[in-house]
Symmetry: C2
Amino acid sequence: MAKRSKTKEKILKVSTTFFSELGYKGTSVRKIAKEVGIRESAIYNHYTNKEEIFLEVAKGIFSSPLTISTTQMQESALKGKAFLSTFAMQYKMLTFDKTNEKMFRLLMIELMQSKDLREQFQSEFHDKNIKLLSEGFFIMMQSSMIKSSDPMLLAYEFISTLFYIRLQVTLLHFDAHATDALAMQFEKHVDFFWESIKV
Amino acid sequence: MAKRSKTKEKILKVSTTFFSELGYKGTSVRKIAKEVGIRESAIYNHYTNKEEIFLEVAKGIFSSPLTISTTQMQESALKGKAFLSTFAMQYKMLTFDKTNEKMFRLLMIELMQSKDLREQFQSEFHDKNIKLLSEGFFIMMQSSMIKSSDPMLLAYEFISTLFYIRLQVTLLHFDAHATDALAMQFEKHVDFFWESIKV
DNA sequence: GTCTATATTTGGATAGAC
DNA sequence: GTCTATCCAAATATAGAC
């Protein structure tokens, strides 16, 4: 495993912060270099161009070590409300994790600017979660734990509120506002939703 | 009422499209001038600078003639499921209205870049709707039409899914994808939600 | 109101010395 | 690997003729 130079790592770190606050267009190589403490030209010893830096940063958006684990959800053989709770709590962790928050912000900033990101958002943020959740709902329906209906619809209803809370938390954190009230919203959502679907 | 010059109006129209697709940074006065069919310098006869154009465009984000009407919701003395339906259908109209879609896209693009927009988003998109909805839920609870619980929580749950559908529709339209399936999601949401809360 | 011309700034990127 | 020097392109904006 080749060790990355300290400088290269610092460039990546600084770039991550800038990109996630100012977006691709709003971040200049100059700003990055200045913050890193080197000249612009030195940047190009580590990355061929600005876009390469961005792509390396953007890799982190969908490859978080904290993404909701499909296997974890499946293997645990979770049932009923615990299934919802586990999912929501993982989602909550992502929401409040500093690194993930930066990546989420970057995603939101660039979502309308990049078709590639939109497609990844759809598959990684939406489809994947919908699939995971609807499979869980399907099983619960078969074992008559919840009312019979469309598992995909339930998944959609469940995930949409989680997403909305996450967006709100991210916006509030941006301006250094408190998010205590919102933190509890995850649990409230699980409670409300479970009451809605249980037999 | 002073009539705005044709050119000034065209500048605004062209700018609206560009800003809502490329954002503030991604839109140059050059592009606008070229699309309008005049020289860059001529732009400055109508607006003092780029920011002024943007601010005029951005005014449209929260002043849509189609925003959900508080009075309409209140005066109609709507009750029960019709209350939810009316709100959701107005939200659906906004979602599929071309002008509103542009403004929503612009909002999403600039949301992370402007504290001012974030505050307006919070007050105009969130607080206002939460208030309107929770008042409705409160009344329904008093007349025992729905189960007793926290009206604000219900409002939050109801609006979050509408928002998520809207975001998805906007993303799909961006890449010219079909949104037929999502169009029905509004009605499905109302059905599901009503079943969850009715007595 | 629009044009040409131009000033000025910012940003991405390269060449070559150390 | 970093620096200085430099280049080039793009973008905002102004001056002044028509």
